[in-house]
């Protein structure tokens, strides 16, 4: 292999030399150096295109100079800033658990269904309806299209049998929509992504353990979407009670075979594993949400003021809101989307394509006809 390259380089070399000779003889020394340089550079690339792909690893310490590979990050950043990105989050839980308040607190703006509907009245609806509200949030030039999907009526009735079905249906419908767009012959450059990237499930802070309805819901939805369980209104639990409650919930989850985000099977390398293990040891996060500010020690903090003290929402000693926010937004947002696309969506896609038992061309032909 190296012989070929040496030959090539020799050929190049001769070309170069010819060119250089045409210019001036005083640059002979320089040209010789350049030629050596060219030869050295060419040695770097060693990819066999045919059988047995072999890739070597060159670390930056071995490079002879600055190549500029890292500028790819800047290019990606520029493109993302221009295009913006989408994030779809679903909140599920009984009414009154503070879902809308938490979402507003997470994104520090009024993005929930309640803030968007004028003259909102608190009434328990008879059936589970799904309600999606979208907002574009901009921070430092980066635009995010955030869609919050609310599920009023879940778990509120006397008989809650099958109350999770409308939710399962919605999630699958979004996958279906995306699938059809993907299979289209003339598909859009950027397929609008309405798939649910993350589902936050609110557990009431009872201090005991998971209820039957919690188990049923998470069993079914854990297979098709990323579930992040949280303990709502956790300001009713002392620190010991909180720890015991979380431990019992984790045991219940394991006993029932429920996989919540971040899923253990999806850890890619030991580094990921360590990071995710730390997260897994502290879910479900015990959160408290609010949109009111108070003065504490001279600063303004988000908190709830009671007769016995002020609960600071962003203080990690008080509650785990900051941990949840960091997980969802600051560290794992892209990962949530990736898992949703590469794992959950793919599972759905494989199932659907096998079900229909048609080959791809038939499906696309059919689509083309009806489009």
């Amino acid at each position: 292999m190296t012989e070929n390259i040496k030959e090539e380089s020799k050929a190049d070399q001769s070309l170069q030399e010819d060119r250089l000779e045409a210019h001036a003889k005083t640059e002979e020394n320089e040209s010789k150096e350049e030629a050596e340089q060219v030869e050295a550079d060419l040695k770097v690339q060693l990819c066999e295109p045919f059988p047995g792909l072999q890739t070597g690893l060159i670390r930056s310490a071995d490079l002879f100079g600055y190549v500029g590979i890292e500028s790819v990050l800047d290019q990606m950043r520029r493109k993302t800033v221009k295009a913006g990105f989408e994030f779809n989050i679903m909140v599920v839980g009984q009414s009154g658990l503070g879902k809308s308040t938490l979402v507003n607190t997470l994104f520090k703006s009024k993005v929930s269904r309640k803030s968007s509907t004028p003259n909102y009245e608190e009434k328990i609806s008879k059936t589970v309806r799904l309600h999606a509200v979208s907002h574009v949030i901009e921070e430092k030039g980066v635009k995010m299209k955030l869609t919050v999907i609310d599920t009023p009526g879940f778990g509120d009735q006397i008989n809650n049998q099958n109350c999770w079905e409308p939710i399962v249906k919605y999630v699958n419908e979004q996958y279906e929509k995306y699938l059809r767009e993907e299979l289209n012959v003339n598909r859009k450059r950027r397929i609008p992504d309405s798939r649910v990237h993350c589902c936050i499930y609110f557990l009431p802070a009872s201090g005991h353990s998971l209820r039957p309805i919690d188990v049923e819901f998470m069993k079914r939805l854990g297979k098709i979407v990323n579930i992040v369980p949280v303990i709502a209104k956790a300001d009713t639990l002392t620190v010991e009670e909180r720890q015991e409650f979380k431990e019992r919930i984790r045991q219940d989850l394991e006993a029932n075979g429920i996989h919540v985000y971040p899923q253990r099977e999806l850890d890619e390398d030991p580094e990921d594993r360590i990071l995710n293990d730390r997260i897994r040891a502290s879910i479900p996060f015990a959160v408290v949400g609010t949109d009111k500010e108070h003065q504490v020690n001279g600063h303004k903090v988000l908190g709830r003021k009671t007769k016995w003290g002020i609960i600071e929402v962003e203080n990690v000693a008080h509650c785990e809101f900051a941990n949840l926010r960091d997980l969802l937004i600051r560290s794992h947002l892209q990962d949530l989307k990736d898992v949703a696309h590469n794992v959950h969506y793919e599972t759905y896609r494989v199932r659907r394509l096998n079900e229909s038992n048609m080959n791809l061309s038939e499906l696309t032909a059919g689509l083309h006809r009806c489009c």
Binding site: E122, N159, S206, S209, P212, D235, V239, D252, A255, W308
Partner: protein
């Protein structure tokens, strides 16, 4: 003599699990009734039905004995499908009435045991927006059988404004759905102002926002029953923090006798009247049948003393009905206030 015999009181607690019912009972009566309780995990709870459990404890203070029975309803509202989960509770209450009915009409009435439920504390979750459908159905099914005192549980999750708003909303909904909770009797006009003020405050505190605790913590140098949080200490007996003291006073110090009276005079009488009515209808049917087949005599389902003729039974029922109505409208307090004043015992800590 009554002091020697002691008093008995049956209190029922109902509500979803995890609302702090057992903790509150322990706090109210300074007992540890639920020491060896094991909580079920989610799997076990899927198949659980509503049970009724009873714990009895004897409390004595300053020579006055109180036999306290706590009736608990584990499993209430926990399943996915909670249709008619209040049925076993209603059946239990009826059973106690029936047993008393039989005892009362029996021959030996000296040592009747009164197991009738005198008061039911219904725990409303602080996490919802007011009453849930299950709460409404439960209270409507039981408001004519037992004195319902609604309680807002785990009130340490609410700020003072939220507590006020929720109380107002719950009171509105109770009225809207026509639920008859236990009404505090009106004060006599000749009671002193302080008493009247207290009474008014009591009425406006429904539902009582309570916090319970099994632990003693140190706050400002004193040891109090409370809950220790990173942001502060909640004192259970501080009236600025919650209505626990009001509830305890009402249950134990001032209104215990009235609760028993209303149970005896209203709820039990309702049950009895219904019972007699349905029985008389049965008797009437039997009578008609017998007339056709020319048989004499009928077996009364329960001993009712000398056989009464049809018209007399109807008259009896009408009289009883009137009496019941009369009792309901009468300001019950006359006897009650005197009684409770006399037997005001201090269950101090």
């Amino acid at each position: 003599k009554s002091v020697k015999k002691g008093f008995d009181f049956t209190l029922m607690v109902a509500g979803e699990s995890g609302l702090g019912k057992s903790t509150l009972v322990n706090s109210l009566f300074l007992t540890d009734l639920y020491k060896d309780r094991k909580l079920l995990n989610a799997e076990e709870r899927i198949t659980q039905t509503v049970e009724i459990t009873k714990h009895t404890v004897d409390i004595e203070e300053k020579g006055v004995k109180l036999k306290l029975t706590i009736v608990d309803t584990p499993g209430f509202g926990d399943a996915i499908d909670n249709t008619e989960c209040w049925k076993s509770v209603a059946d239990y209450i009826d059973q106690q009435f029936e047993q008393y009915f039989r005892d009362e009409s029996g021959l030996n009435r000296k040592n009747i045991q009164d197991n009738r439920v005198h008061c039911c504390l219904y725990f409303i979750s602080p996490f919802g927006h007011g009453l849930r459908p299950l709460d409404v159905e439960f209270m409507k099914a039981l408001h004519e059988k037992v004195n319902i005192v609604p309680v807002l549980a785990k009130a340490d999750t609410l700020t003072p404004t939220e507590v006020q708003k929720k109380k107002i909303k719950i009171r509105e909904e109770i009225e809207q759905y026509g639920i008859k909770i236990y009404q505090f009797p009106d004060c006599d006009s000749d009671e002193d102002e302080e008493f009247k003020q207290q009474d008014l405050e009591l009425k406006e505190s429904i539902p009582f926002a309570v916090i319970g605790s099994n632990t003693v913590v140190e706050a400002k140098g004193k040891r109090v029953r409370g809950r220790l949080y990173p942001w502060g200490i909640v004192e259970v007996e501080n009236s600025a923090h919650c209505d626990f003291v009001k509830l305890r006073n009402m249950l134990v110090r001032t209104h215990m006798q009235d609760l028993k009276d209303v149970t005896r005079e209203t709820h039990y009488e309702n049950y009895r009247a219904q019972c007699i009515q349905s029985m008389t209808r049965m008797v009437v049917k039997e009578r008609n049948r017998n007339k056709l087949t020319r048989e004499s005599g009928t077996d009364f389902p329960i001993p009712m003393g000398p056989a009464v003729s049809e018209s007399e039974t109807e008259k009896l029922i009408r009289e009883k009905d009137e009496e019941v109505q009369h009792e309901k409208n009468k300001p019950v307090l006359q006897l009650g206030a005197g009684f409770s004043q006399k037997f005001q015992y201090d269950f101090k800590i």
